[in-house]
Amino acid sequence: MALALTTTFTKSTVKFLEERLLLLTISCGPVRNKSKQNPKPRLRNPTWFTQKHRVSSDDNVTLENKEFLKEVVQDRYFNVDNEISKDLASNVIWRPGLQRTGVMARKIGIYPMWLKTGKKISTTLLQVLDNHVIKYYPPEDYDPQVKRVGRIYNRKGCLLLGAEGADPSTFTREYCGLFKDSGVIPKRHLARFFVSPDAVLPAGTLISALHFQAGNYVDVRGLTIDRGFQGVMKRHGFKGMPASHGVTKTHRRGGNIGGGGEKGRVWPGTKMPGHMGNRYRILRGLKIWRINTKYNVLFVSGQNIPGATNSIVYIYDTKLPARKPAEPLPFPTYIGTGEELSENIFDKEIHEFSEPTIVYSDKN
């Protein structure tokens, strides 16, 4: 405890505490050579990695008291008007070098849409959750796990975002402590996003689907479906071998994996059976065809976005140089101007469902 207290003292309170704490039998003096006794571990988890879920046990709280707890949550997190000041940031206008924050979203399904030419495309629906900024680590404070050697150009800060607020009593006290400073309700999901120092957002800012614009391109990262240990046919799309014609016991096998002699070993990267899925993959350069502002849904091209339906994905502005936007983006994020937005914002190539039937004319 003494150790913990000394570390948590800040300069302003030390004197006061010394005066008072001397009264108690607990000593709070500094420990010499503490850094040598407990050197920082070389590989460590980020500061927000704590035990998240509380041991699920029945509290035996009566119904009325449960209502009361809900009421307090409501009063504390929703009925307060903690309006973030509109002068969020900076008069900086977006330019190609600047990196904005990404968002967390939920993949909610796939359905087709049609272009004005009559072509059918598949779109994946990504519901942007209630993303709130939890904390910002400036470039000099953020301590990456693996140190980069040499001069670092274009240093980025780290923005910690939380998504999907939930009942605080389902989490541990330590986890809820992460959200104390920002004043937002504890969130189920946390993620860090690297941003340019210009793109920093104050804690508690809400990021909506309008952070992105229809017609622009995004990269989507997600955890692929876990398929367990799989053979080469499923894992790498090998052809297998014939079912008959004298083939014995090698119908789904990979076959030869290399020659002998000097190269008589398995070459690194050889495609073989193994665990498939359950790893993060990024699909880059997906076009946003449509944005639903009511439910915060992005309609993104493609049906192969990593992850199962109802899983969490992370959306970033695309890194592909050819698909970077030409127009300035809302920077550092979209701030509502107060005017009513239409429920759906479409890309100009899309045929809206409420439009009349497509008619071809002889000209095209």
Partner: protein, 190 residues
């Protein structure tokens, strides 16, 4: 095939439905699997409380719920439901129990018709065990129901905290309203 079947209407189950059905290690294939489940469902309807391995309990719970919900929904004059009951209940006197005893018992329920507990497993065994029972059975309850005991110390404390919290809240609201009224009246005077 991604279209819902429309030939038959079913009521929603009040228990969690697993996305995939378990195979239950049946040597005889899907037919044997149903046989296994049939025995469990019959036993559940007969004894109203049984102890068994967890996976089988969880699986047969869904089937028992379906059987009861169909019995409530269609009654004993519906031929298909009767066939179902005939198949699922090996002892035929239980068919009467299903339609004449259980269906009237559960007709006004808003919860699931069965209840499941994880049971302790005796040491050398590592298999997860469960107790499956019909609600409203005649046995004494397995675990004491503490949910609505207002006299437990934390409920007493929370009750008082609630009162204090609400008093304070309403006072604040009243003060706000008073202040607003005052300002309005002052403006009116000006």
């Amino acid at each position: 095939m991604n279209q819902a079947e429309i030939s038959k209407l079913v009521s929603q189950l009040r228990v969690r439905v697993n996305p995939r059905l378990r195979k239950l290690k049946s040597a005889g294939g899907p037919e044997a699997r149903l046989d296994k489940l049939r025995k469990t469902v019959t036993a559940l309807i007969k004894h109203e409380r049984i102890e068994l391995n967890y996976p089988r309990a969880d699986e047969s719970r869904m089937y028992a719920e379906r059987l009861i919900s169909d019995a409530i929904r269609y009654g004993d004059c519906h031929r298909e439901t009767m066939e179902m009951a005939d198949f699922w209940l090996i002892e035929k006197q239980l068919v009467h129990k299903l339609f004449k005893v259980l269906a009237p018992r559960f007709v006004n329920y808003s919860t699931a018709y069965t209840r499941m507990y994880t049971a302790p497993s005796v040491y050398p065994e590592v298999v997860k065990r469960a107790v499956l029972e019909l609600r409203g059975n005649p046995y004494p309850s397995l675990v004491p129901d503490m949910h609505n005991n207002r006299n437990l110390i934390h409920n007493v404390l929370l009750d008082e905290a609630k009162k204090a919290y609400r008093t304070q809240k309403y006072e604040e609201i009243a003060a706000k309203i008073d202040a607003a009224e005052k300002s309005v009246s002052e403006e009116a005077r000006k």
